[in-house]
Amino acid sequence: MKRRSFIKSMMAVSAVAVTPVALMAKEEAKAKKKGPNDLAFEAAVKAITSGKEVKDSEKIKLTVPEIAENGAVVPVKVEVDHPMEEANYVKAIHVLNTKNGNTRCVDVMLTPANGKGYFATRVKLGGTQEVVALVELSDGTFIKAGKSVKVTIGGCG
């Protein structure tokens, strides 16, 4: 009995001693883990729109998987139902996420020569979050659409 209780107490002590250190190390690692251009979502949106109003729109068809098994490769497809004429066209498609270190993925500047507001790529997602397509039209207005993606294995480092 003595031996058993001794082992138990030792285990308790070691558990107490180890956890705070481990936690601290984890927090330190989290604090250090910063990419070259970290940007929060609100700041990223502000940098793109420079404070203009952004409306949710059904014109944008955003195709992302509901559940992504591998966060390192998440296919994103954006289609904008808008004419592509000389005076009235889709000027830019910005693909953003909401929770990665850097929330900006790609900015695509389109011209009427494209014929259609379409863009597809693959992005990395660090965890379950939302993918947002922010579209700028040639008259200077912004519209957006977002969809959440459930990520089972994160893809950022």
């Binding site: 900015d107 695509v108 020569a113 379409y118 597809a120 992005v123 990395k124 950022c156």
Partner: protein
């Protein structure tokens, strides 16, 4: 840069048969590590420096029609797809640079069947 010369890339036009005035898909794929600057090298344990493509320009006969600004959040061996309305015979060129200053380009001829 020796590494830059070895970088593989590919332009695909879909569908294969098209006419002048058709809207085609232009897919661009490049073999690139797209390191975020966060992950560790499995062999050495050192943190790999950030290395990602940051600018891409699609042009047709020297006139750019789509430009992209890319961040490290795009997947390894990235794939970019845009639409293009074929104005006639010509050459599509994709120029890309990365954050270390590497410059590369790839082109493909457009041959519409009328």
């Amino acid at each position: 840069m020796a590494e830059a010369e070895a970088r593989k890339s590919m332009i695909k036009i879909k569908p294969k048969k098209f006419k002048t005035g058709d809207i085609v898909k232009v897919d661009f794929i490049v073999i690139h590590p797209m390191d975020t600057g966060l992950s560790k090298d499995k062999k050495t344990g050192q943190i790999k420096p950030a290395h990602y493509i940051d600018n891409i320009t699609f042009s047709f006969d020297g006139k750019p029609f789509t430009t992209m600004k890319v961040w490290e959040t795009v997947s390894t061996n990235p794939y970019f797809s845009v639409n293009f309305k074929v104005p006639g015979k010509g050459k599509i060129t994709v120029d890309y640079t990365d954050n270390t200053g590497e410059k590369n380009s790839k082109s493909k001829k457009l041959k519409p069947k009328d």
